[in-house]
């Protein structure tokens, strides 16, 4: 009888100890996880970085056939005032022939203004083709000097290793001649 209660007590002691150990382990794990997050999150963009994430651009000085490059979030953004011929060329490409299938009209808000991030979708170099003097590649748009990706007058990938078209950032026309990117 005496031995019986003793083992029972031992048993209760055991479960209680196990419970405590489990609880302590859980608290330790939760605590550690909760501490790790602020340190990781501190490396995400800070509030001032996010606040500067939009850029306004005045389009008036850009003549037809000219391009400008502006900085947005530390990256170049290509803004091209396209000629009639370029628009026509872009619109006439059969979509099915493209690697990354996109209609030209889905890539522009106004056909004469092409706005896109000037970063090759292959490995992040800046394609040539912005200046008159630079080569525009086999499709009259842009060509990346790093690994030879050719983009057409809509900034779509036509030849070379890049998997996707040059990306179009979020932007809005504030007036007929100015836009805000981001």
């Amino acid at each position: 009888m005496c031995a019986d209660t003793a083992t029972k007590k031992d048993h209760e002691e055991g479960t209680r100890r196990e419970f405590l150990n489990l609880a302590a382990g859980a608290f330790g794990a939760i605590g550690t996880a909760a501490v790790v997050w602020p340190f990781v999150d501190s490396m995400n963009p800070a509030a001032d970085t996010l606040a500067l994430a939009s850029t306004e651009v005045d389009l008036t000085p850009i003549q037809e056939g000219q391009s400008i490059t502006v900085m947005w979030r530390g990256k170049p953004v290509f803004i091209r005032h396209r000629t009639k011929a370029e628009i026509k060329a872009a619109e006439e490409v059969p979509v099915n022939a493209l690697r990354d299938k996109e209609e030209d009209k889905d890539r522009v808000q106004k056909p004469e203004w092409l706005v896109m991030v000037g970063v090759c979708t292959h490995l992040g170099c800046v394609p040539l083709g912005q200046k008159e003097s630079e080569t525009k590649g086999e499709y009259g748009g842009w060509v990346c000097p790093c690994h030879g990706s050719h983009y057409d007058t809509s900034g779509r990938i036509r030849k070379g290793p890049a998997p996707k078209n040059l990306s179009v950032p979020e932007y809005a026309f504030l007036t007929d001649t100015s836009i805000r990117i981001g």
């Binding site: 100890r17 405590l20 609880a23 606040a51």
Partner: protein
Amino acid sequence: MKNSILSILVVACAVIGSVQVASAAGDAKTPRQMDWSFSGPFGTYDKAALQRGFLVFKSVCASCHSLDLIAFRNLEALGYEEGQIKNIAAEYTVMDGPNDEGDMFERPARPSDYFPSPFANTAAAKYANNGAYPPDLSLITKARKDGANYVYSLLTGYKDAPEYVQLMSGQHYNPYMAGGVIAMAAPLSDDQVAYEDETPTTADQYAKDVVQFLNWAAEPEMEARKRMGVKVLFFLSIFALVMYGVKRKIWHDVH
């Protein structure tokens, strides 16, 4: 042994405590102790008071004092909507550039811009203020001992100078300022700023509101900090109890 160590600890704490007080002493009068909505471990900012305080800052303090560390986007914490913030920002002009022609140009401020300073630089500020530099106010309540109470006491504590204090022109008497002499004239007077709500438009109320605003400017993280602190302390207290249980169980058969 235990008692003697305890008493040493008590003395040590008392000394550390008094160090805090003593280092502040100087010649200045101890600030009046106010009961702020943001004091205490659960204190929060009063949004209405923050907005009124901002109004007072904008219409009174800002004519001489800068607020370098605050951007218009930060005003969201005062309870303003995005559109309101844009409108507030647009009231100010900031220098930008260079443009394509290489010139600097002025444009209306955007939410991402910081509050423009009233003076181009320190020298200009000193020149315009009889040689006294109006300090930046973004950290003022942290940069002074007992900051919130100090700023409030200073703003409401102007008095006629006692006989033994000789003031030069451009100087004023304020017992809360170290040395009693201050270059800033009493900035607040009754009915100086129109409030949109029913709050009394007295100098005392302005001072309270602007202190609320300045304390926010110095410690915008305060509410988040205290909220997190309550959770952390709660968590740790339970954890400590559990660990105490674990430790006791383990040591049970040793003692």
